[in-house]
Amino acid sequence: MSARAEVAVSVGAHGDSLWSKALRKFRRDRVGMWSLAVVLAYAVVALGVVLGLWAGDWADVSGPKWAPVSGEYWFGTNIIGQDIFARSLYSTRTAFEVGLVVALGATALGAVLGSTAGFFSGSWIDEVIIWLMGVLDSVPFILLVAAISYTLQGSPWAMHIAMIATFWIGTARLIRGEVIKLKSLEYVEAAHAIGVSRFMIIFRHILPNTFHILLVQATLSFVAAIKSEVILSFLGLGVKDGMSWGLMISESTFEVLAGFFNNFIAASVLMFGLVMAFNMFSDALQDALDPRTVK
């Protein structure tokens, strides 16, 4: 007993927890660090828009129609003479807003329902949650967005809510499995024995130990949200007020046929950059948090 405690202390002294090890691994991952830098650069752009530092004039009709790239209009102007550069920056803000809201919402919901199902696995609570996952999985996504949009009478949050309502399922399935594994461990049994309430056991003792899964799932939801936003906005079910990459691409489909590509290229390249960087960041994070990989 005392020997084991000693080992635990010495491991702790070297700071060799999952997190410190992951941080060390991540720092050594050059691709991971670069992709994180790119994501942070986008985040700064988005934050600047929120603070009103730039792109406040995204809706102004200031220039001539389809102006080429110039010192004044860095990416040119669109069909009615709006500055594409300002619109691209503003869309970055929209992408972060959608991504963060959906990632946080879906991950939190997945964590709560997944851990509850896992803790009560085999009971009716578990059955109900599994049933709910199956049902939501079987409703076509775009129809769900449209239906929620009806119900909320065209609220701009319909898209976010629909994404949260479907994206939590993947997270919940993983967390459920992990919690089933964790709940039979000794420390949970010990918590039971000293009379910790079930609520506290789930959310204070078990759930924090699945945080590495939640972190990776949140990054995946972020990417999925940005990609869905583009398609939903194009179909007229997404962003209602404001500007987004999806709306820019939607605008550009007419322009592309007339041989004017600025809008399309600006939105596509910016979106591709963010999604690619986020995907690689997510990969690096997964590698760093995976105890099986040694680096």
């Binding site: 049933w131 709910l132 199956g134 049902v135 939501l136 999985d137 079987s138 409703v139 076509p140 996504f141 775009i142 129809l143 769900l144 449209a146 239906a147 929620i148 009806y150 119900t151 990609k227 583009v230 398609i231 194009f234 179909l235 007229g236 079910l237 999806g246 691409i249 550009s252 489909t253 592309v256 046929l257 041989g259 590509f261 399309f264 596509s268 979106m271 591709f272 999604v275 690619m276 995907n279 690689m280």
Partner: protein, 317 residues
């Protein structure tokens, strides 16, 4: 007999799922859905006229009664007629489902087949530049939006700024040549994007199998690589592969091509569904939602039976 019993039990187990889907679709599309009263009334209606229309539409009934009516229509497969064209929903589906399948099949087959092949190559050369090149390509496919891929391939093949070889949009299946002309651009976009996800997924599955002890032993005994891949690795990876393929089928048949079909103006189920969303055509939406759920139950069943076929140890109990 064993299989028959199994199928029956599985279908029964699928009932709560389908019921859940009908409940959600009823609540969201019908109960809280658009109010049709004023579309059916003339100008300046009296209170009596409004009440009459509302009772015709069933709006004055309690929730449970309306839901039971909705369920009865579904169980008797009586989906009614489209509210905008008056065509029967069943005949609309009969007309459009084949188009959607013809549109989706080439992209689906190529996306999965090439995905498995690329994944095998990448896994075989794991860590070498071939692997890195393939996975880099997959990362690009994963990161590009489907919409951007569609527009990109359209510019490349169909516009005067590109090769200008294929039609810009539309659909024609009258001759095989016409079919190929119209299906190429949507297929290329689908395959490009699907390959990203498929290759990564299949590579992970194959690598997992490759690192198992029995594979190492077989290799040590000098089993030739082709046989090793086919018999010891691919065969054992079939369960996750089958799962992935089976569960994509419902999405493809009913709604997966919604973006493709509305973008290219192809008269398939996706286009019909999109138009129904825009105009609030409830009978069509109802049919699409319920049929998707039923197809999911069937896909689950087929997947289970396929597990039995690819792995005799799986029992259908």
């Amino acid at each position: 007999m064993e299989v028959f019993q199994y199928v029956l039990r599985k279908l029964l187990a699928g009932i709560p799922l389908v019921l859940g889907v009908t409940l959600i679709s009823f609540v969201l599309i019908v109960y809280f859905g658009p109010d049709k009263t004023y579309e059916l009334l003339g100008k300046n209606p009296t209170a009596d006229e409004i009440a009459e229309i509302r009772s015709q539409l069933g709006y004055d009934q309690p929730f449970v009664t309306r839901y039971m009516d909705y369920l009865r229509e579904i169980v008797t497969l009586d989906f009614g007629s489209s509210e905008s064209t008056d065509e029967k929903v069943s005949s609309i589906l009969a007309r459009t489902v084949p188009t959607s399948i013809a549109l989706a099949i080439p992209g689906f087959v190529l996306g999965n087949l090439l995905g498995v092949v690329l994944a095998l190559v990448a896994a075989y050369y794991r860590g070498f530049w071939v692997d890195k090149f393939i996975m880099g390509f997959a990362a690009v496919g994963m990161s590009i939006s489907f919409l951007i891929a569609i527009i990109g391939f359209q510019i490349l093949f169909s516009s005067s700024d590109g090769l200008d070889l294929l039609p810009v949009r539309g659909w024609d299946m009258s001759t095989p040549l016409q079919y190929i002309r119209y299906v190429t651009v949507p297929t290329l976009a689908t395959v490009f994007v699907a390959l990203g996800y498929n290759t990564r997924f299949y590579r992970a599955v194959i690598v997992e199998e490759m690192t198992r002890d029995h594979v190492r032993t077989a290799r040590a005994f000098g089993v030739p690589p082709v046989q090793l891949f086919y018999r010891n690795i691919l065969k054992n990876s079939m369960i996750p592969i089958v799962t992935r393929i089976m569960f994509s089928i419902p999405v493809i048949v009913i709604s997966g091509s919604l973006l493709l079909e509305s973008y290219f103006g192809i008269p398939g189920v996706g286009k019909v569904t999109y138009d129904a969303i825009v105009t609030g055509d409830q009978p069509i939406l109802k049919a699409v939602v319920v049929l998707t759920a039923v197809l999911f139950v069937i896909a689950q069943l087929l997947a289970d039976i396929c597990y039995r076929v690819v792995d005799p140890r799986v029992s259908l109990k």
